[in-house]
C-alpha cells in the first residue's frame, strides 16, 4: 500500500467471495486499500474462497497480521484478525497456540517482515514445529515504506535505497524453512492461485508448521523502478521466472539463478511443540 494508492469508492470491487469478509458483514461493502494491479487482492480472495469451501469455524483459525501493505488485508479477509508488530507474528502465535491449543493461527507476513526483521522467529517457529500456518507475501520489496530493498530483492534491481542497483545475495525462504524444520513447505505465485488454494487447504489440515510463500507483483514500488510498471508486466515477470519443482530437478544451479522454484517442497510429519508440552503436562498429572 503506498500513500499514493487510490482509495475510496473507485476501489470497491463487488465479488461473490467479498461477501465472506468481515468488512462486508459489517459495512455492507468489501474494499481494499491495495494499489491497482497489486497481487495481494487475489491472494486475499483465494483465502476467502478456501475459508468458504472448507466451511471453517472462523474463530478457531485466527489471522495474525504483521506490518506491511498486507496490514490492510483484513478488510478483505474472513474470520478473526489480530494485528501484531513488524515481524513478531510467529512469536505472538506461539503464545496464542500455547494458551489455547485448539486454535490454528495463520500468520501473514511480507518478505521484509518475515525475512528481515522477523527472521529469528521464523527459524525458531519452524524448528519448534508450532502448529500454525505462515503465509509469506513476497513482492521482492518493502512496499509500504516506499520501495526500499528487501532481503529478497533480485540482484541488479533498482530500489529507493539501491539507486546504483542491488548487489546483495537474496535469501531463499523455502531453503531457510527447510533447514529450520518446517514440516509443510510450498511456494507459488500469483499465476498459480488454484495451486496456492490447494496448498492452503492442505496446510489447514497439516499438523505442524506450514510455510507457504507466494510471489506477488508490486507494480507501484518494485514495478515502477524496474521497468515493470503495469500489473501484467510484474505478473508475467514472476511467471516467466518461475520453474516447477520437478523441472528444476534437471536444471543446473546456473540455469536456476534468479528463478522461483514453485511447487510443493516438503510435506512430512513430526511432533509439534504442543505435542511435546502436553505430553509433559499429562505425565505430571498422574504424579
Amino acid at each position: 500500500m503506498s500513500y499514493s494508492a487510490p482509495r475510496g469508492k473507485e476501489n470497491i470491487t463487488p465479488h461473490p467471495y467479498g461477501t465472506n469478509t468481515q468488512m462486508y458483514k459489517l459495512m455492507g461493502f468489501p474494499f481494499t486499500m491495495f494499489c491497482k494491479g497489486c497481487g495481494y487482492g487475489s491472494i486475499a480472495q483465494a483465502i476467502c474462497r478456501v475459508f468458504k469451501e472448507e466451511n471453517l469455524q472462523e474463530e478457531l483459525f485466527p489471522f495474525i497480521i504483521n506490518i506491511g501493505c498486507y496490514s490492510s488485508m483484513p478488510t478483505v479477509l474472513p474470520g478473526k484478525i489480530l494485528m501484531t508488530l513488524h515481524g513478531r507474528g510467529i512469536a505472538v502465535a506461539t503464545g496464542v497456540k500455547m494458551a489455547n491449543p485448539k486454535l490454528k493461527p495463520i500468520s501473514i507476513h511480507g518478505d521484509g517482515d518475515l525475512l528481515s526483521i522477523g527472521t529469528n522467529h521464523f527459524i525458531h517457529g519452524a524448528r519448534r514445529n508450532v502448529d500454525m500456518i505462515v503465509i509469506l507475501l513476497n513482492n521482492n520489496i518493502y512496499g509500504m515504506t516506499g520501495g526500499q530493498h528487501a532481503p529478497t530483492t533480485p540482484m541488479g534491481s533498482k530500489t529507493s535505497t539501491t539507486p546504483y542497483r542491488y548487489g546483495e545475495k537474496p535469501i531463499d525462504s523455502v531453503e531457510l524453512a527447510k533447514v529450520s524444520g518446517a514440516t509443510y513447505i510450498a511456494r507459488w505465485n500469483t499465476s498459480t492461485m488454484r495451486e496456492f488454494m490447494k496448498s492452503f487447504k492442505k496446510a489447514l489440515h497439516h499438523k505442524g508448521f506450514s510455510f507457504i510463500e507466494i510471489v506477488s507483483q508490486c507494480p507501484t514500488q518494485f514495478g515502477n523502478k524496474n521497468a515493470l510498471p503495469k500489473a501484467l508486466d510484474g505478473f508475467n515477470f514472476i511467471k516467466n521466472n518461475s520453474v516447477r519443482i520437478n523441472k528444476a530437478k534437471d536444471m543446473s544451479s546456473e540455469e536456476l539463478k534468479g528463478k522461483y522454484i514453485i511447487g510443493e517442497h516438503l510435506d512430512i510429519d513430526r511432533p509439534t511443540l504442543w505435542d511435546r508440552k502436553s505430553e509433559i503436562i499429562e505425565k505430571l498429572k498422574e504424579k
Partner: protein, 404 residues
C-alpha cells in the same frame, strides 16, 4: 485435574527458605500465571528455571524463546488468548522488550513483567543490584503511557506482591511490573505461604467478557472509555482470541477507544492517549500502595522503595534513639508515583531524604510534590549511588548532616 487440584498444586503451603527469584516465581504461579516466556539473563535465570519445572505441574506452559522480543510477544499472544501470562528479565533484555511493551500498553493488556535489575548501562555488572531501570519501565517504549510497578523488599514480599502485581494488572488492564534487583533476587529468606483457600481469596481472576445485548458479532467494546474530563473510567473485560466475540480486527495502530478501529483524526488519537495515561495517573490514589512508619511526629521523612527501604528502616530506628524525629514513607508501588501520599507527607515534614539505587530517578519525581501548603519548597536530599547497597550508616550520616 480439576480446578481445586490445580489450585492446590499451585500453592506451596508452608514455611520455606526460598531464594528471592524463586519466591517471586511461586507468587506468580499462585496468582494464576499459566504461561511464562523468557530468555536467560543473569540475575533472573532462576525465575525461568523454576517456572520450567513448576508450570507444567499446574497445566501451564513454559517457553524459553529465542530472545526477549519473542518472549514478550508470546506473553501478549497468550494473554490475549485468555491466559494470565508473564515474562521476567533484566536490564538489557528489558530494553529489547520496549516496542512490544508499548504496544501492550496501547491495547491495555494485563501482562506482568519482572525486571530483576542489574547495573547498567550496556552489559553492566551482572551480579550487582541497581534501580537504574525505574524510568525505563514507563519511559522506555515509544509514545507515552503509564504503568504500574511494584517494588518488593524481601523474599516474603516477592511472593505476596507478585500476587498483587497480577491483581493490579487485571484490575486496571495495564502492563504491570515487578521491580526486583540482583541482590533481592539472590537473597534467601523465610517465606510463609498460606493455604490455597486463603490465596484464592486474594486472587483477582481475569474478568469474563459478557457481550452486550444487541452487540454485532466482531464488534465488542474492548477498550476503556473515559468521561469528558477523565475522572471516570469504564474498564471493560475483553473477549479472548479464539472466542466468537473476539473483534474481527484487533489492531496495533492508534485506535478509537469506542470502535477499536484505526484513526487518523487528531482528537480521537489524543483521546486514546489521554485515556490510557489518565486511567492510571488520575487513579494514582486508588492504585498506590504505600507503607508509613512513624510519620506522625516526623520532621524528616525518608521516602524510599525496594531494597534500600530495609536500610532506611534501620536508619530510622537509630535516629529515633538519638532523638531525631525521622519517619518513612515507603513506596510499595513506584509507578504511578504516589502523589497524594507524598504531598501529604511533604506538608508535615521539614526535609526529605531519598535513598535510591540510582542517581535520583524517583527523587526527581518527589521534588515535584515537595512543598508545604503555603507553597514553600522543602529540600529533597538524595542518597544516591548505582551499584552499592545502602548501609543504614550512610543514611544516618546524611540525616545528621542535614539537621546541622
Amino acid at each position: 485435574m480439576n480446578e481445586d487440584e490445580i489450585l492446590k498444586r499451585s500453592v506451596l503451603t508452608g514455611t520455606h527458605l526460598l531464594e528471592g527469584n524463586v519466591a517471586m516465581a511461586e507468587g506468580c504461579i499462585a496468582a494464576g500465571c499459566r504461561f511464562f516466556a523468557g530468555y536467560p539473563i543473569t540475575p533472573q535465570s532462576e525465575v525461568p528455571e523454576h517456572m520450567a519445572k513448576r508450570l507444567p505441574e499446574v497445566g501451564g506452559v513454559f517457553m524459553q524463546m529465542e530472545d526477549e522480543i519473542a518472549s514478550i510477544s508470546a506473553v501478549v499472544g497468550a494473554t490475549i488468548t485468555g491466559k494470565k501470562a508473564m515474562s521476567s528479565t533484566s536490564g538489557p533484555g528489558f530494553a529489547l522488550m520496549q516496542e512490544t511493551l508499548s504496544w501492550a500498553n496501547l491495547i491495555e493488556m494485563p501482562i506482568v513483567v519482572a525486571n530483576v535489575q542489574r547495573v547498567g548501562p550496556g552489559s553492566g555488572v551482572v551480579s550487582l543490584p541497581t534501580h537504574g531501570d525505574v524510568t525505563q519501565i514507563k519511559r522506555g517504549g515509544n509514545g507515552e503511557y503509564e504503568v504500574i510497578a511494584i517494588a518488593p523488599n524481601s523474599c516474603q514480599e516477592l511472593f505476596d506482591l507478585s500476587i498483587e502485581a497480577f491483581n493490579l494488572a487485571e484490575k486496571w488492564r495495564v502492563p504491570t511490573f515487578i521491580l526486583s534487583d540482583a541482590w533481592l533476587g539472590h537473597m534467601r529468606e523465610k517465606v510463609v505461604i498460606p493455604e490455597p483457600e486463603e490465596i484464592k481469596k486474594r486472587i483477582v481472576p481475569r474478568p469474563e467478557y459478557i457481550p452486550k445485548e444487541n452487540e454485532t458479532e466482531g464488534r465488542p467494546q474492548i477498550y476503556t472509555i473515559a468521561n469528558k474530563d477523565f475522572t471516570e473510567f469504564n474498564i471493560p473485560a475483553f473477549p479472548p482470541l479464539g472466542s466468537k466475540n473476539f473483534p474481527y480486527w484487533w489492531i496495533t495502530l492508534t485506535h478509537s477507544q469506542i470502535s477499536g478501529m484505526i484513526t487518523e483524526t487528531p482528537s480521537v488519537a489524543d483521546n486514546t492517549n489521554m485515556t490510557i495515561n489518565y486511567k492510571i495517573s488520575k487513579n494514582e490514589a486508588k492504585i498506590s500502595i504505600v507503607k508509613r512508619y512513624e510519620l506522625d511526629d516526623a520532621e524528616i521523612a525518608i521516602i524510599t522503595y525496594g531494597t534500600p527501604s530495609r536500610s532506611a528502616l534501620e536508619a530510622m530506628k537509630a535516629c529515633r534513639k538519638e532523638g531525631i524525629k525521622v519517619g518513612i514513607l515507603r513506596l510499595v508501588t513506584v509507578w504511578p508515583i504516589a502523589e497524594t501520599a507524598i504531598r501529604e507527607v511533604a506538608e508535615k515534614v521539614k526535609q526529605i531524604v531519598v535513598p535510591e539505587m540510582n542517581l535520583g530517578q524517583i527523587a526527581e519525581q518527589i521534588e515535584r510534590f515537595a512543598f508545604h501548603t503555603d507553597g514553600q519548597r522543602i529540600p529533597v536530599h538524595r542518597v544516591s549511588h548505582t551499584a552499592i547497597l545502602h548501609t543504614p550508616k550512610e543514611i544516618i550520616d546524611k540525616i545528621r548532616e542535614i539537621i546541622q
